[in-house]
């Protein structure tokens, strides 16, 4: 019951997506994320400061609030650090693999023949570090698409061109 075979094809001899060696993201991407987090934390701190300033009853809890804030900041940074470490991608001859996640580790695979279009995004901070993120869309909607952040911009452009070339070949 549990073994899934068919006459002509040995499935175990097929290429295994789960054993492909994955590429890590560009190291500089960590700096981009850190910049984003620090801006978020700065705004949060400013918000808390304003609240503390106007509502005086909260001032006895000042140290508790600061402590929670610091704990939250450290947790956020560690979480992002680990999640970036966990991201990996690979481009095979006929498909694209993207792996990510800390608690739930998910691997998404999109065959080139199912790609609808590809976009390359460069955020402000990403541009500072010559990075870009690649969005690969399929007809499966948002859940069926892949976003690879933190690619070297030249590499991302090469990948995009290569994928576009593959797409044209299919048509």
């Amino acid at each position: 019951m549990q073994d899934f075979t068919n006459e002509t094809l040995d499935i175990d001899a097929l290429p295994k997506y789960e054993e492909v060696a994955l590429n890590a993201l560009n190291r500089k991407y960590w700096k981009v994320v850190l910049l984003n987090i620090s801006i978020f934390l700065f705004i949060l701190a400013a918000g808390i400061a304003i609240v503390l300033f106007f509502i005086e009853e909260l001032s006895p809890y000042l140290y508790i609030i600061i402590g929670t804030y610091l704990l939250f900041s450290i947790l956020l940074i560690v979480l992002y650090l680990v999640s970036i470490k966990k991201i990996g991608y690979a481009i095979r001859e006929k498909d694209l693999i993207y792996k990510s996640g800390i608690i739930s580790i998910s691997t998404a695979i999109i065959p080139f023949t199912r790609i609808q279009h590809i976009t390359l995004n460069e955020g402000i901070f990403s541009r500072m570090f010559q990075l870009g993120s690649l969005h690969v869309f399929t007809a499966g909607g948002i859940s069926g698409s892949i976003t690879i952040p933190g690619l070297d911009i030249n590499l991302a452009k090469t990948i995009k061109e290569e994928l576009n070339r593959q797409l044209a070949k299919v048509d």
Partner: protein
């Protein structure tokens, strides 16, 4: 009859009337409450002013409808392979649809259109743009020819069309719903939808009553009086009984209105589906365009050998969620028996999908769901009860709740199965309505495999198949097996030349 669509054409002259009715209906729907309020509040005002105002309004609507009729034109650009619609009174709108993006062309008839004797032609595309592409007034002959042109752009042979037209008139319908089947379907399905409809209706009435009591400054609110008097057990039972009757009644009525005279006819390579009591719906379905086929059955329906079938087509904008827009692309067959199902599946797939190997989720399937739906809510309830003592008398509710949810979760687990054969993926799921979703591997857009880190040792993982008509999940399967499946399907997609649409 004109069959040349290369020149811009207007709608049938009766289109003015249809558009007028359409605009009138829409404006009445928007203005009904302001008008009622105006009538109630402004008792002293001269009624002639109101009537004059109404006449002016009608006159403006007529002119507007005539202008929108004049400005509406459509044509088929053979060179660019596009269908173009131009419209708009104040601002001009230009809609062009690539023929290869067209999924489905429906010819429908609303009550007004039925009286006037015209049809509307709605074009359904796979594109993410939600522009409405429909022609509101067109005669049946032109509509059928235009539909053929739009769908079969490779073989626009007039003679072939005629012969198929004749054939279709002679050929026996593949499936025809009798009144008794419709009745049975109404009795056994769609409880949820009917209850929701009924609730919506009751709330609308209550809201309206509230509005009126406020508008008329009534002192006594009938609803309030009812609730303060209190309901005894007998009246609750009677109420429940009536609610049940109403639910079943609305269910049957809804089914009759929607699926009256339901027929499926096989035309060359497509399925022609017609239905409707007041509003006639004609739909052409191309088997190659179907992404996911499914059939579902509940306990009662199983006893009656009755099932509900659904064919889902690609809808880019809404592939993620089961929203209303997605349902628009679905083609539903409300009732059929096993033989008819097999016939239909044969039409779509050219063979009947078999279940060759079965995959069962791990028993851990139950852990997380029981945690989420039983343990956490109950502990939350207990916690609230600990803080607020007056909730404590209701603690015994926990027992029936836990039993009910546990039974439901058990059935969900027992029905969660994946069956595979070389060319088919069949996913079974559901608690009460047990659904089988059928998918061909080449319709897969992408595959995602997932694993919680604590399941690594147990070698358990989840599989998500992304298609253009939504996703299919298989949870808590053996991860090694999921890898094998994924590798096989990737091989199947990447080595084969089969296109998904």
């Amino acid at each position: 009859m004109e069959t040349d669509f290369s020149e811009p054409k207007r709608q049938s002259a009766a289109g003015v009337a249809v558009m007028f009715a359409d605009h009138l209906q829409r404006s009445i729907r928007v203005l009904v409450f302001p008008i009622i309020l105006l009538l109630v509040r402004a008792k002293g005002m001269n009624h002639w002013y109101l009537i004059a105002g109404f006449l002016v309004f009608l006159f403006i609507l007529i002119i507007y409808s005539y202008l929108s009729y004049l400005r509406f034109s459509f044509f088929l650009d053979e060179e660019k392979q596009e269908f173009v619609i131009q419209k708009g009174v104040l601002s001009k709108e230009y809609i062009s649809i690539r023929l290869d993006k067209i999924q489905q062309v429906n010819i429908n008839q609303s009550l007004i259109q039925r009286i006037i004797g015209v049809y509307s032609l709605d074009i359904d595309t796979a594109g993410s743009d939600k522009k409405e592409a429909s022609i509101k007034a067109i005669d049946h002959h032109t509509a059928t020819i235009l539909r053929e042109r739009l769908l079969n752009r490779d073989a626009p042979d007039t003679e072939a069309e005629k012969s198929t037209d004749e054939q279709s008139q002679k050929s026996e319908p593949l499936l025809k719903l009798s009144t008794s089947t419709l009745f049975k379907v109404g009795l056994t399905s769609n409880y949820g939808a009917s209850v929701a409809l009924l609730m919506g209706f009751i709330f609308a009435i209550m809201e309206m009553l509230k509005n009126y009591t406020e508008a008329f400054q009534l002192e006594e609110n009938p609803i309030k009086a009812l609730s303060t008097e209190g309901l005894n057990l007998f009246s609750i039972c009677a109420l429940l009984f009536f609610a049940l009757l109403i639910v079943l009644g609305t269910n049957i009525l809804r089914n009759f209105i929607k699926y009256f005279d339901f027929e499926v006819i096989k035309k060359k390579a497509v399925l022609a589906i017609t239905s409707g009591l007041f509003e006639k719906k004609h739909t052409l379905l191309k088997p190659a365009r179907v992404q996911i086929s499914s059939y579902s059955q509940n306990y009662f329906q199983k006893k009656l050998d009755l099932m509900n079938m659904k064919f889902k087509q690609a809808s880019f904008g809404s592939a993620d969620e089961d929203d209303k827009d997605n349902k628009k692309h679905d083609i539903e067959i409300p009732g059929c028996d096993e033989n008819e199902r097999d016939e239909l599946l044969k039409m779509i797939f050219e063979c009947i999908p078999q279940k060759e190997s079965t995959f069962i989720p791990n028993y851990r399937f139950l852990f997380l769901t029981i945690m989420l739906k039983v343990v956490i809510p109950i502990s939350f309830f207990l916690l609230v009860g600990w803080v607020l003592p007056h909730i404590r008398p209701y603690f015994w509710w926990i027992i029936p709740y836990a039993i009910l949810v546990a039974i439901m979760l058990y059935f969900e687990f027992a029905h969660h199965r994946l069956y595979l054969s070389k060319d088919f993926i069949i996913k079974k799921s559901g608690i009460w309505d047990v659904e089988h979703q059928l998918l061909e591997p080449h319709k897969i857009q992408g595959i995602t495999t997932k694993q919680y880190f604590w399941h690594k040792k147990a070698n358990i993982g989840h599989l998500v198949l992304h298609t253009a008509a939504g996703t299919i999940h298989f949870k808590y399967g053996n991860y090694a097996e999921i890898h094998r499946m994924a590798n096989y399907w990737l091989y199947y997609i990447e080595s084969g030349k089969k296109d998904w649409m």
